[in-house]
């Protein structure tokens, strides 16, 4: 099962790249593969047994015996957290491919092949139970990203790629040294064996934390984020914010903390403090951003830092909230960015000064936008509200005033999200908006509505997600 989840997108990537099909067939093939992956993910969700831990496991020797130091293994398995990360990936890539097909990207075979490759790498990373394998997925996800941004990005794509590239590589190569260190000192790369390693060396912990915190990103390691989110093709931005940033949080949760528990406790304050700064900073800048992408980009920074606060509360409530928020924020920011993409397609811009008044005569568009806004600002009753509440609860348990300070993030979220919504949908009609600008077409609704439905479903039954995710 797990292996199939990894191989379907990779095989599809190869087929799409090799077969000289016309555009329509390429799109259909890529979309079909993404749908199959999503369906298989749903099957895994249904068959997932909350009473067991890691499931659908496969384990075979890869290479090893580095002079009886450590074996690297092809070891995959799905934990509760992995399950939802895989589902989020499948949903995200499906929506991204659907959007890309609608926008009509140049060189479709290469483009879709890269998106599917990215999906395969992400699933590998989320299901790996071996450190070398995890690192493989981590690095393998970067390469398609660099190319997608560097080749298909906006006008400043070269600078954006370069910045993104330098930041993320610094992190991941430092992690490689950490991987070698763990293998040599612990004699194993397996997550299950390392789970209670309780390593007390701070140096290697920071080698790992650097990679994860850059990816998430934690303040002040977010320097790559604004430019990258602005210059990437919109569906790639959606994936970056919705799925790939979660890989950073996942790395912290699933690898760095279990391996280095004592060190994490020592430095708990540093991480929680920086994340708090990031939450406030991101939220404030989001409120001042002149463009729709900028608002969601910085809000994404704030939200990821909120998740990190939940993680570094280092208690059960914090973990529950952080993991659930990873899923919620993932879907919500996918929806927000893809909707911006549909607006950009109509108006050619995402600057507020050229937008506005789209709600007028465009009922479907404004409704979907409103839903996305509501979820992003965590309106009571929404799934995001539940997860943010848990994070705050965890933060209070750890240190009351940290919880109080983090709560400001939620107030700020309401401010910038309402500004975002009204900047696009309300106010006077912008320069680039004319009466002929169409409402959402049925195909576009097909992209956006499922995301909203997923969010609604999670709001209706949050415990359904949470009991699986922490199992």
């Amino acid at each position: 099962m797990t292996v199939a989840l990894i191989l379907i997108p990779l095989a599809a990537a190869l087929i799409v790249a090799v077969l000289p099909l016309p555009r329509r067939s390429t799109e259909a093939l890529a979309l079909g593969a993404a749908l199959a992956e999503l369906a298989l993910g749903v099957v895994a969700l249904i068959r997932f047994d909350t009473t067991k831990g890691v499931q659908f496991a496969t384990d075979r020797l890869w290479f090893g015996d580095l002079v009886s130091k450590a074996d690297a293994r092809f070891s995959f398995g799905i934990s509760g957290l992995s399950l939802f990360m895989v589902l989020l990936t499948a949903l995200g890539v499906f929506s991204a491919i659907a959007t890309a097909a609608w926008i009509g990207r140049a060189r479709p075979r290469a483009y879709f092949s890269l998106l599917l490759m990215l999906e395969g790498a992400l699933v590998l990373l989320f299901t790996a139970r071996d450190l070398v394998l995890f690192y493989t997925g981590w690095e393998a996800m970067m390469i398609p990203l660099y190319v997608l941004i560097g080749v298909w990005g906006g006008r400043e794509r070269r600078r954006a790629t370069f910045t993104f590239f330098v930041y993320t590589l610094v992190g991941s190569l430092l992690m490689l040294v950490g991987v070698a260190w763990v293998g040599i000192t612990q004699g194993t790369f397996e997550l299950d064996a390392l789970q209670n390693a309780g390593i007390t060396d701070a140096g290697p912990f920071f080698l790992f934390a650097a990679a994860f915190c850059i990816k998430a990103p934690i303040f002040p390691l977010h320097g790559w984020l604004p430019l990258t989110y602005r210059e990437s093709p919109i569906e790639v931005t959606a994936l970056l914010s919705g799925v790939i940033s979660k890989a950073g949080a996942y790395g912290l949760l699933a690898w760095a903390l279990p391996l280095f528990k004592p060190v994490a406790e020592d430095y708990q304050w540093w991480f929680a403090g920086l994340a708090l700064a990031g939450l406030v900073y991101g939220s404030l800048v989001a409120f001042r951003a002149p463009d729709a992408r900028g608002v969601i980009a910085y809000s994404s920074l704030g939200q990821m830092n909120l998740i990190v606060i939940g993680i570094f509360a280092l208690n059960a409530d914090g973990f529950t909230g952080a993991t659930f928020q990873m899923v919620n924020h993932g879907v919500a920011s996918l929806a927000a960015f893809l909707l911006i993409g549909l607006v950009e397609l109509r108006t050619g811009t995402d600057l507020f000064r050229w937008l506005g008044g789209l709600a007028n005569r465009r009922a479907a568009l404004s409704t979907v936008f409103l839903f996305a806004t509501m979820f992003a600002l965590a309106v009571p009753g929404s799934s995001t509200f539940v997860s943010e509440l848990y994070i705050l609860l965890g933060a209070f348990r750890f240190e009351p005033w940290l919880g109080a300070a983090a709560a400001t993030g939620i107030v700020l979220a309401a401010m910038y999200m309402l500004r975002w919504y009204s900047g696009i949908a309300h106010e006077t009609e912008g320069e680039r908006v004319d009466p002929a600008t169409p409402d959402l077409r049925p195909y576009e609704l097909g992209i956006a509505v499922p995301l909203v439905l997923v969010l609604l479903a999670m709001s209706a039954w949050p415990s359904g997600v949470m009991e699986r995710i922490v199992s």
């Binding site: 790249a17 290479f63 015996d65 580095l66 080749v151 490689l176 070698a180």
Partner: protein, 490 residues
């Protein structure tokens, strides 16, 4: 005590069987040049050269055994470490023949080219099992002289001549230093054979200035061949000027034999001075990281860029040598095989593109190439990722094993330096995939496709090797481990 045992040295033909095969084929080629008409000679010479390499490979594989033995008194040491080095050389030779086939410069000089290639390979093959400084020097000169000529073989091209001349002068200096160093070590210990040097050092003064000076000079001499900074200055010109098939061979084979020899000399002959040479190697490694990668950033010519990248990789290889452990040797052998496959493939693609456009290949000449030739384009991307050490390519596992060896031998700072170097390196490696996938480029159709099949085959084989060695690295790592144990014991 000096033992001159000229009349008692037992001759062991099997120890030099691969060299005999290769030199025999080279002689056969010279006969072909005389007795056959031009056109036929060209085809026959390629066939004989390829056959020679295959035969040498078969001979080495059938002789392959885990136990080490000395031959010709102690001048040769046939062990699986040396045998692994030999196999790298022969595979590189075979693939270089494929890459060379069909090149315009080869038209009038095929026989000479292949004869020199076989002779160079024979020299290299002897060098990797050499256990005495005399043998080292003879073998080194044998293959170096052939390479000087091979680099300058395209006499119609000024760059080729320039590269050949620079290589000749700098290479001669390097060889002279090596010889001088050997003489000093002989003066201090009374022995040329590595194991006897170590014995003499253990029995005597291991801080003898004569000995240490000799060791330093030997290291410098080997550094020239291994493209280590600051002894790298011939590399860019020679690599860029040489006919691309020759560069292919040099980058894979010369590098492998230089590193194999460096490791053997240092750990077998000078184990008592290991602290000293570890520091020296670390310094050379860091210098190579800095010089190679920073200079590569500014290159637009693909061959020149890869030449500088080769200097940068010496840093990694020296890191593995400096670990001076079985794990380090294992990492070195694995990395050398992967590195050879990667470089052969990358230069092979450059050779193909060069023939398509009829001039030296700039990075811009690859714009949109992946859309025109998907297989070669994807292969080139694979090679660049492998050089950068990014999964899913074998270069990643190579880098991981080297880092493991470094951490294991308390050389973590070298691993960190390697990480920084890789970060810089990625900037220029990834330029190639970016150009390859440029969505706006229009690549004109090229009609000149004659004789591309063998070169493409070499590229495909290399790409497959780089991918397969990622997913199934076990067998090669096992071979590398026994090679390490055969050298170091344990």
């Amino acid at each position: 005590m000096i033992t001159l045992a000229a009349d008692t040295v037992p001759v062991s033909w099997s120890a030099i069987a691969p060299e005999i095969v290769l030199l025999g084929c080279a002689c056969a080629l010279l006969c072909i040049a005389v007795f056959m008409p031009r056109g036929l000679a060209r085809v026959a010479s390629a066939g004989v050269a390829a056959g020679g390499f295959v035969a040498a490979m078969v001979v080495s594989v059938t002789q392959y055994e885990d136990t080490a033995r000395y031959a010709f008194d102690h001048t040769l040491r046939i062990d699986s470490f040396g045998q692994a080095g030999r196999l790298v050389v022969f595979s590189a030779g075979l693939l270089a023949v494929l890459v060379a086939w069909g090149s315009p410069w080869l038209r009038d000089r095929a026989v000479e080219c292949f004869a020199l290639l076989l002779t160079a390979a024979a020299g290299m093959s002897l060098l990797v099992v050499a256990n005495s400084f005399v043998t080292v020097f003879v073998a080194l000169e044998l293959f170096s002289l052939c390479l000087y000529v091979l680099v300058a073989l395209d006499v119609d091209d000024l760059g080729s001549l320039e590269g050949g001349l620079k290589y000749l002068i700098v290479g001669a200096v390097g060889a002279a230093l090596l010889l001088y160093g050997s003489a000093l070590v002989y003066g201090a210990t009374g022995a040329f054979e590595f194991d006897r040097i170590a014995e003499a050092v253990r029995a005597g003064d291991n801080r003898d200035p004569l000995l240490l000076t000799g060791l330093g000079l030997i290291l410098v001499g080997l550094g020239f061949k291994a493209n280590a900074a600051p002894f790298h200055m011939w590399t860019p010109d020679a690599y860029q000027g040489a006919p691309t098939a020759v560069t292919t061979f040099m980058s894979a084979a010369t590098k492998a034999v230089a590193l194999v020899t460096t490791l053997r000399v240092l750990v077998v002959a000078f184990p008592e001075q290991s602290e000293l040479w570890t520091t020296l190697l670390a310094a050379l490694a860091i210098a190579s990281f800095v010089v190679g990668n920073l200079a590569a950033l500014r290159q637009t010519d693909v061959k020149r860029m890869l030449a500088y990248s080769t200097i940068g990789h010496t840093g990694f290889l020296f890191t593995a040598v400096a670990a001076k452990s079985v794990l380090g040797t294992q990492a070195l052998v694995y990395y050398l095989v992967v590195y050879a496959a990667t470089n052969i493939g990358a230069f092979g693609i450059v050779a193909v593109r060069e023939r398509e456009i009829g001039r030296p290949v700039q990075i811009d000449d690859f714009r949109g190439y992946a859309y025109r030739r998907p297989v070669l384009g994807v292969a080139m991307i694979v090679f660049m990722l492998s050089l950068a050490g990014i999964p899913p390519t074998a270069g990643f596992i190579g880098k991981l094993t080297i880092f493991s060896a470094a951490v294991d031998s308390d050389l973590t700072y070298l691993a960190v330096a390697g990480v920084v170097a890789t970060m810089v390196a990625l900037v220029y490696y990834l330029r190639v995939p970016f150009a390859m996938l440029d969505r706006e480029a229009r690549v004109p159709i090229v009609r000149n496709r004659t004789g591309m099949v063998p070169a493409s085959l070499a590229v495909a084989v290399s790409a497959l090797a780089v991918l397969v060695l990622f997913f199934i690295p076990g067998p090669l790592l096992d071979v590398a481990k026994t090679a390490g144990q055969s050298l170091l014991g344990g």
